[in-house]
């Protein structure tokens, strides 16, 4: 059974419709105003409505075209990359930029097939010290060098 000819179009349409519907739903609490004095709700509702129409067109089109299936979504490697940045954000205040950078590089590098602990550790330390020197010291960005846990 292959009723949906183009799965990418199908899911794009679903995404557009859902996004447009959500936009209208959350804009509804704001006054629409009058044409002469448009309220804060008017433009979002207008654009959300147009997005739903485009979503419907994309969805309908999916049944009349043929396209390739959606590329497989992988979880582990992209997940590690995203996790590494989240961990950086969480560790920046307590550990400072050097510690947070080492953590980011270690977790992020693990996503690669060519991951080697020693080289990742060296890269992390190098980048951490380098960033602390360039961004913190040379450019004077207010970034924590040593975190609160390290007494910085």
């Amino acid at each position: 059974m292959r009723a949906i000819g183009d799965p990418k179009d199908f899911w794009s349409g679903v995404f557009f419709i859902a996004f447009g519907a959500a936009a209208i739903f959350f804009a509804w609490q704001h006054p629409l105003g009058t044409p002469m004095r448009m309220g804060p709700g008017a433009f979002p509702v207008l654009i959300g409505g147009l997005l739903i129409l485009i979503g419907i067109a994309t969805l309908v089109r999916a049944f009349f075209r043929s396209g390739e299936p959606i590329e497989r979504i992988t979880f582990v490697r992209p997940g590690l990359i995203l996790l590494s940045v989240i961990v950086f954000a969480l560790l920046l205040a307590p550990l400072g930029v050097i510690g947070a950078t080492v953590a980011l590089v270690l977790i992020g590098s693990a996503a690669s097939q060519k991951f080697r602990l020693p080289s990742a550790l060296a890269l992390g330390l190098g980048l951490g010290l380098g960033s602390a020197a360039v961004f913190g010291w040379a450019l004077g960005l207010p970034i924590p060098i040593l975190g609160t846990w390290l007494g910085g």
Partner: protein
């Protein structure tokens, strides 16, 4: 001679030690980015934007502009030497450039690309200097309805020129506009789509979105199919093109420059379209079409001139109207806003030193690129050999630190994670994030102009077709849209990208 006086003012502004230094830093960083696989100019400008906060506005914009056109140069270097176009605009350069390199003529190919780009850079700088001020002067008479129509034209043209489905691209424009509405509404003070999150009151930052969908997403995509580093098999011996080479490159460089200068102004993939268009034009005009694909020097000279000219004239709508034509230009507009400059036609008259300083710096930057890059080719090639598994953690670190530095907020770092993921899912559905980025900047401006227009017209929606300039702009928009969806033109357009 206003032009000379203006250029003199620009030289005065650009020729300070500080500005020259940052111009150099910009073009070197740009070349580096163009050379490195998996890192584009949009993500780089987003990363380095916080570092430019401390600089004066002219200096900051000179550096960011340098990154942008430096990347064009870097991209063509790797396209020729290792058949790896660093930027989309150098894809066609790789076809004949790499063949020339394989035949032992890497040096002349590089020199041709550099000379063509430099010539195109000089001409397009002049084009900007001549055409931007009158355009800005005309735009000063524009009121809200004209601006609203102009933004519609900008968005439609960017969709028409982009690759892929037009319907999906229009959908992405709407998504971008809605994202742009997040935050406190300036006219009513209403907090829209903030969901009680304090950080969202100022809206979703476009810099964070750009870092996410262009920086982080790119890494997520590349890590799925690990990038293999190229092996350098060609040697660069003599850089000097032969007399025959010179004779054959002159006409393509001229034609490419003209084509690029014209197409670059268009929103969307102007420079990209210019390089593809120039290649097929040269192939058609050539007396030896069979040489194309086998190392024809015209196939390097034309597209390289075209993409560089296009990259420069893309500044015209940005500088004169405050309307971005590409995501990179959207970031430049963002940089201006963050520096406290309201982009638009008044920049030319109110900030002449800034305006002309940027224009002159582009010419200087092109000169630096020619003088520096040919001798540095060896260095760039070695840099492009950096293994990707060492490169991407560094990009991530710079993105994270850059995002944090925007406003010393952890929230901004989390935001690039969110948009990295969003970009990854969009890519799976083949939804292009570029129209979304343009709309993110233009959305709030369009809403304000729509509201003002409606107030001026006392609620009459026909105001947009009753005012002649606005009507003309809307008719052009409609024509562009119709042309883009006509099956015949569409086929031609797709062919141009395939060739």
């Amino acid at each position: 001679m206003d032009l000379l006086a203006n250029l003199a003012l620009g030289f005065e502004a650009a020729f300070t030690p500080l500005n020259l230094t940052y111009c150099l830093i910009g073009v070197l960083a740009g070349t580096l980015v163009g050379v490195l696989p998996g890192l584009g100019p949009t993500a780089t400008i987003a990363m380095l934007l916080p570092a430019s906060f401390a600089l004066p506005p002219v200096t900051a914009l000179i550096m960011l502009a340098g990154i942008y056109y430096g990347a064009q140069y870097g991209g063509s270097t790797t396209a020729i030497l290792v058949n790896l176009p660093g930027e989309a605009t150098s894809i066609v350069t790789a076809i004949d450039g790499y063949k020339m390199a394989q035949k032992g003529r890497a040096g002349p190919a590089l020199a041709t690309a550099a000379l063509g780009s430099f010539f195109a850079g000089c001409v397009s700088t002049l084009v900007i200097a001549i055409f931007a001020p009158p355009l800005a002067a005309a735009a000063l008479a524009f009121e809200s309805p004209e601006y609203f129509s102009l933004m519609i034209l900008g968005l439609i043209a960017s969709v028409a020129l982009a690759r892929g489905s037009i319907l999906k691209a229009i959908g992405m424009i709407m998504v971008g506009m809605l994202l742009g509405l997040v935050g406190t509404d300036v006219s009513s003070g209403a907090r829209r789509y903030t969901f009680g999150i304090g950080e969202l009151m100022d809206g979703v930052g476009f810099v964070q979105v750009a870092m996410g969908v262009f920086g982080v997403t790119e890494i997520l995509r590349n890590i799925e199919h690990e990038i293999k580093n190229p092996r350098l098999i060609v040697k660069v011996t003599s850089l000097m093109p032969t007399r025959e080479d010179f004779r054959r490159m002159v006409a393509p460089i001229f034609r490419g420059t003209i084509l690029g200068s014209a197409l670059g102004v268009l929103p969307g993939g102007g420079p990209l379209l210019a390089s593809f268009g120039s290649y097929s034009m040269e192939k058609r005009l050539s007396k030896h079409p069979e040489e194309f694909g086998e190392g024809a020097i015209e196939g390097v000279a034309g597209p390289e001139s075209a993409n560089n000219a296009g990259a420069q004239t893309a500044f015209i709508p940005m500088l004169t109207l405050g309307i971005p034509s590409t995501p990179t230009m959207a970031l430049m507009i963002g940089a201006m806003i963050l520096q406290g400059i309201q982009p638009g036609p008044s920049v030319v008259t109110e900030q002449p030193a800034l305006f002309w300083g940027i224009i002159v710096s582009m010419w200087l930057g092109n000169l630096m690129l020619v003088v520096l890059n040919l001798p540095l080719v060896g260095l760039w090639v070695r840099l492009c050999m950096i293994p990707y598994h060492l490169l991407y953690p560094a990009i991530l670190v710079f993105c994270a630190i850059g995002a944090f530095s925007l406003s010393n907020s952890i929230f901004d770092v989390q935001l690039i994670v969110v948009f990295g993921l969003v970009g990854y899912l969009l890519a799976k559905l083949e939804l292009d994030p570029a129209p979304m980025m343009l709309a993110l900047i233009l959305g709030p401006m369009m809403e304000q102009n729509l509201r003002r227009s409606m107030t001026i017209a006392r609620g009459d929606v026909f105001v947009f077709v009753e005012r002649p300039i606005s009507l003309i702009i809307l008719l052009i928009s409609a024509a562009v849209l119709v042309l883009a969806v006509l099956p015949m033109i569409r086929k031609k357009r797709d062919e141009a990208f395939v060739e």
